[in-house]
Symmetry: C2
Subunit: 227 residues, 2 copies
């Protein structure tokens, strides 16, 4: 689908990309390390240099609702800069991650000098909102099986053709808002239909495209998420 990538960096000119990189501090995080917490108010923009970050919300009971993954070039924390809102999500490193961290003041200054930057941030935000709205809609319309497939596809976004999703089934279940038992049934079905292979803490999608086709056939709204 047209519409563009939600990665900030892809909407910037090489020159501006370089300026941003230059003005930021690179911070490295090890697997599992927390990058930001829900509720934090310290403002700043983060752009992923290398690796993948988990985005989600930890419940008081320890459940983790995964909202998605961010890959290289994608940013987060924008709204801590432009609004006085606290962070909505916890972000943690999924494997080793490097982040360009930009201090709020420096970023707003850059925006004043380079309106192009402001436009790019706006564009990625709008694209994200769009994705979110479509997601919200499908959550209400689609049955669990379709929703599960949709979530797995979006989580495998950063993988290659043969995707591995490294997560516990219970986390997936929380993300979908269902119990582990219900998810288990759906996953077993999907396995017998040869769409996925279940492992210990890992789900393999042997053929993403096949899965996408299946979903599109069910869900006559075409997918927003595109590699």
């Amino acid at each position: 689908m047209q519409g563009g990538s939600p990665a900030l960096m892809t909407h910037l000119s090489p020159a501006l990309r370089q300026t941003l990189t230059y003005q930021s501090n690179v911070i490295k995080y090890a697997d599992g390390q927390l990058i930001h917490s829900r509720g934090d108010i310290k403002p700043g923009l983060s752009i992923i240099k290398k690796g993948v970050a988990n985005v989600g919300v930890y419940g008081v009971d320890g459940t983790f609702i995964m909202a998605g993954l961010l890959g290289a070039g994608e940013c987060f924390g924008e709204f801590t800069i432009f609004t006085e809102l606290p962070r909505t999500h916890d972000v943690s490193a999924n494997g080793d991650v490097e982040i360009h961290q930009l201090e709020a003041g420096r970023f707003t200054k850059l925006c004043d000098e380079e309106p192009e930057l402001l436009k790019a941030v706006l564009k990625t935000t709008l694209i994200r909102t769009h994705i979110l709205l479509e997601l919200l809609d499908s959550m209400r319309r689609l049955p669990l099986k379709e929703r599960t497939v949709k979530l797995m596809l979006s989580l495998s976004y950063h993988s290659g053709r043969i995707a591995q999703i490294r997560t516990r089934q219970s986390d997936l279940a929380d993300s979908l808002g269902v119990s582990r038992v219900s998810l288990g049934k759906v996953l077993k079905q999907l396995q017998t239909e040869e769409m996925i292979i279940l492992g210990y803490r890992v789900i393999t999608i042997p053929d993403r495209e096949k899965m996408e086709r299946w979903l599109e056939a069910k869900n006559n709204t075409p997918l927003i998420i595109k590699k």
Copy 2:
């Protein structure tokens, strides 16, 4: 509400507000009239001058999933200008409505001249995304009763203290993603608890603040959850 209003106009200087108003065409819509359809691609920004607009999605089967209401000063259609994405929602007039309609070209030109405008659009978008994320989260965590109250409160946002929600129960049910029967049970409960009064095509909230307090008490998830 901390964090700011999602209305574009409140984030603009009086001067800029005037310029925007001046550069736009005012279009009037009668009750029920369609303003924009999901899937439309013709770009342009709309700002509500007077009245209230319905935002939602019509399903193929005629169901209408209401996503919310927009009041004076709020805008929509931003992303048709900055991305190539089609509209996600159908927007229709709820009572008589007047809209400032701004052609895409004119708006982008204005943005280039006045970066303040770009910032304001970004801010409202970010605030909306924030609201959306919190909504998505509560959809997964809260039981139907709480979700219903939340939706009704958000729909009555533009009413006074004694709010009237003019809608069919079946539309509400679709918006919540449940059947009319389930919603009916919840509504009956809420009525016996004297939080709402059910009528024909209308639900009255005699005391918004009481309802808000009830929701806050139930929803002890403060904005900031700690692990």
